[in-house]
């Protein structure tokens, strides 16, 4: 697939991907990695701060909270979104075996996201938007912060429009065919996200942008916060579904196995569209102004959304098992050790799955309504999302880039050994840090707090904080090795890459699969109705009955 010319430079010839698309995909991934580098850099400073070591004089930020805003926004919003944009573009093109339908839309999406990122980055870097990634009013950032992030969201809509146009064109030429699995995964992800992102779009465009510009004097705090969580929970499935896409539809191939059950895999994906939306109030269990009845309804649906995750756990493990057994693995667990642990892409994603299981359990506790009272806004929650988005998603994305970057650049991964080490270090670092943070949360240490200067710092917090600090240092080394390997692959690798896009095949050819498992529209319509029922009455009540007079503050 790759030809080395006389000068030794490599020019990849990637099927179906036009040169312009390849450049855009690489640009998305590069921006994602820059965000990972800058956001990750702040991590160890936060981790060390919890044992009372305050190194913020050595970091060019104005305060702990300025750094935390950078960490949160760059990692959880930028790294994820830009990686996903690049990855899903490639997945769509490769899945449908045709370029995206509109080159113009492809470029517009990219520039909308990139311009938005730059516009938002300026006030964040200049300490004019130290509102953390949740941006709860009445903390009021510079308008450019909200405008920039809104442009990023609009960019994702343009991208998804292009993906659906590509599907339409493919369908016209392939009537009656089943949508290729990986392309199906991309479409479900984007359909879910288009619905989910309406909340933050309304919050920013209708409430916060006019308010930050001074066009209106006051805003509606609880309405804005609820709209944020309308998007804020399903956004985790915007990160997780591309991860699942790799676990379900790619990894079985990478481990020499087959997808265990195509119909249940499709069902699990589709269930995430309706189930990820009516749950946002589980982030607001402790909020005033929201009746307990609504909180309970969302608690119920939160338990329901564990269901497709449980399906995922079964199908993914069963698919991996087919691979482990095909490679000669025996016994109830022996197959697991026979998986190709030498392949860093596989290692990273297997380790990501292990920590995800733990993160899922702590998530069940967060979801548990009144049990949430013992952990809400403590470091427990921080431990939870470092195992989920910080590991299940992030380490899987890293694992994906171990084949994806060689595939796109035509250059073999510079050092597979370093990549394996990196994955293990991330696993160990997160296990240590996650353990420490969950423990700190049980001891009631608050999150988003500069603990080194907190007058109420309790002596018993010190031991778990050491776990956080140690984990933070291991993670920093791991993150550095990852970026180094990526840079060396791009600029110093002289070996042609021998990689293909891994695409799993189903174990059985299910001729009789229900047709609803290959249709999006009924699911999207059903989800819209369910979402409206679970949100609109309460949002409407807040709109008409809650004060719109709350002025903005700059508290930093």
């Amino acid at each position: 697939m790759t030809r080395a010319n006389a000068a030794g430079s490599l020019s990849p010839d990637i099927p179906y991907v036009p040169a312009g698309s390849r450049r855009i995909i690489l640009a998305y991934l590069t921006l994602a990695m820059v965000a990972l580098a800058l956001g990750g850099l702040v991590g160890p400073f936060q981790a060390l701060n919890s044992i009372g070591v305050n190194l913020y004089d050595y970091l060019p930020v104005t305060s702990y909270y300025h750094g935390l805003t950078l960490h949160g926004v760059l990692l959880v919003l930028v790294w994820t979104t830009f990686f996903i944009a690049g990855f899903l573009s490639l997945v769509t093109i490769h899945g449908f075996q045709r370029p995206l339908s509109s080159r113009g839309l492809e470029r517009l999406a990219f520039w909308s996201m990139t311009l938005g990122l730059l516009v938002a980055a300026v006030p964040i870097l200049l300490n004019r938007a130290t509102v953390l990634f949740t941006a709860y009013p009445p903390l009021r950032a510079h308008p450019a912060f909200y405008i920039g992030l809104a442009l990023v969201v609009i960019g994702t809509w343009l991208l998804s429009a292009n993906v659906f146009l590509t599907y339409r064109d493919w369908r016209r030429e392939n009537p009656g065919k089943r949508t290729p699995l990986i392309a199906f995964g991309a479409m479900v992800t984007l359909a879910m996200w288009d619905l989910a992102s309406l909340g933050i779009a309304v919050e920013f465009v209708a409430l916060l942008i006019p308010w930050s510009l001074g066009l209106v004097e006051g805003t509606n705090v609880l309405l804005a916060r609820s709209l944020f969580w309308f998007t804020g929970h399903p956004i985790v499935y915007f990160w997780l579904l591309p991860t699942y896409l790799s676990w379900y539809f790619m990894m079985p191939k990478q481990v020499g196995g087959k997808l265990f059950s195509e119909s249940l895999a499709r069902l699990a994906f589709l269930l995430f569209i309706p189930m990820s939306l009516p749950v946002g109030f589980h982030h607001q269990y402790t909020d005033p102004g929201v009746p307990t009845s609504w909180k309970l309804v969302h608690a119920f649906f939160t338990f329901v959304v564990f269901f497709p995750s449980a399906l995922t756990m079964f199908t993914v493990l069963a698919s991996l098992e087919t691979g482990g057994r095909a490679r000669g693995g025996k016994g109830a667990v022996g197959w697991f050790f026979r998986l190709p642990w030498k392949d860093p892409s596989v290692t990273a994603q297997l380790l990501a799955m292990i920590l995800f299981a733990l993160g899922g359990i702590s998530g069940l506790i967060n979801a548990s309504y009144n049990l949430n009272l013992s952990v809400h806004n403590t470091l427990w929650v921080v431990g939870h999302f470092h195992l989920t988005v910080g590991t299940a998603v992030t380490l899987s994305f890293m694992g994906i880039t171990y084949w994806l970057i060689p595939y796109l650049t035509g250059r073999a991964l510079y050092s597979p050994g370093m990549a394996r080490l990196q994955a293990w270090l991330w696993f160990i670092g997160m296990a240590l840090m996650g353990r420490g943070q969950h423990w700190l949360g049980i001891l009631d240490a608050p999150r988003r707090t500069m603990l080194s200067d907190a007058p109420y710092y309790a002596a018993e917090w010190l031991t778990p904080s050491y776990l956080v600090a140690a984990g933070g240092i291991v993670l920093t080394v791991s993150g550095f090795l990852y970026l180094l390997n990526m840079a060396l692959t791009a600029w110093a690798s002289r070996v042609p890459a021998q990689v293909e896009v891994p695409m799993a095949e189903p174990l059985q050819d299910e001729a009789a699969m229900p047709v609803a498992l290959d249709r999006l529209r009924p699911w999207v319509v059903g989800s819209a109705i369910l979402t409206a029922a679970a949100w609109v009455p309460m949002l409407w009540y807040m709109t008409v009955a809650h004060p719109w007079t709350i002025r903005g503050f700059t508290m930093w």
């Binding site: 935390l68 609880l222 005033p288 102004g289 013992s374 806004n377 988003r448 007058p455 508290m555």
Partner: protein, 157 residues
């Protein structure tokens, strides 16, 4: 649609587990009375000086072992910052914010709530044993967030 026997077993198992967990949560809420905050009304932050009960922050003895604590949060303090109640009292906390969103967390209790401008937070809690509690703001509210805290003293009767 073919579903493998093991997978069918797994689906049933997970459904039962989730139902039991959810049942436990609902029982804790309605059987044991461990509730999360609910809608307790709205109040404009511009009118706190004249809006009861917020015009008089502090501890009120309502008689019969009942106390009301009216508290205002603002960057970066609670008013009152120190509260004394006797052991065995039932305390109703009523809070709101003068400026941005704050938190109210009393470690060692089930008291955990957000305090927002425009909204009234109401929490009921019974202090059985004498002792001292530190409470803190646990929602980011600005550069002084980490110093925002206070104390509850529960005295022996």
């Amino acid at each position: 649609m073919h579903i493998h026997a093991y997978e069918r077993f797994w689906i049933v198992l997970m459904t039962v587990v989730l139902a039991v967990f959810l049942g436990a949560v609902v029982y804790a809420a309605y059987g044991m009375g461990i509730q999360v905050p609910t809608d307790a009304g709205q109040v404009s932050p511009d009118q706190l000086a004249s809006a009861p009960p917020f015009n008089e922050p502090g501890v009120k003895d309502l008689g019969g072992g009942f106390y009301q604590v009216v508290m205002l949060a603002s960057a970066f303090q609670f008013e009152p910052g120190e509260i004394t109640v006797p052991a065995g009292s039932d305390v109703e906390f009523v809070l709101t914010s003068r400026d941005v969103i704050h938190g109210f967390r009393v470690p060692g209790t089930t008291i955990n709530a957000m305090v927002m401008p425009g909204q009234v937070t109401r929490i009921l809690y019974r202090f059985d044993e004498p002792g001292e509690y530190t409470f803190m703001c646990h929602e980011y509210c600005g550069t002084g967030h980490h110093v925002m805290s206070g104390r509850i003293v529960v005295t022996a009767q």
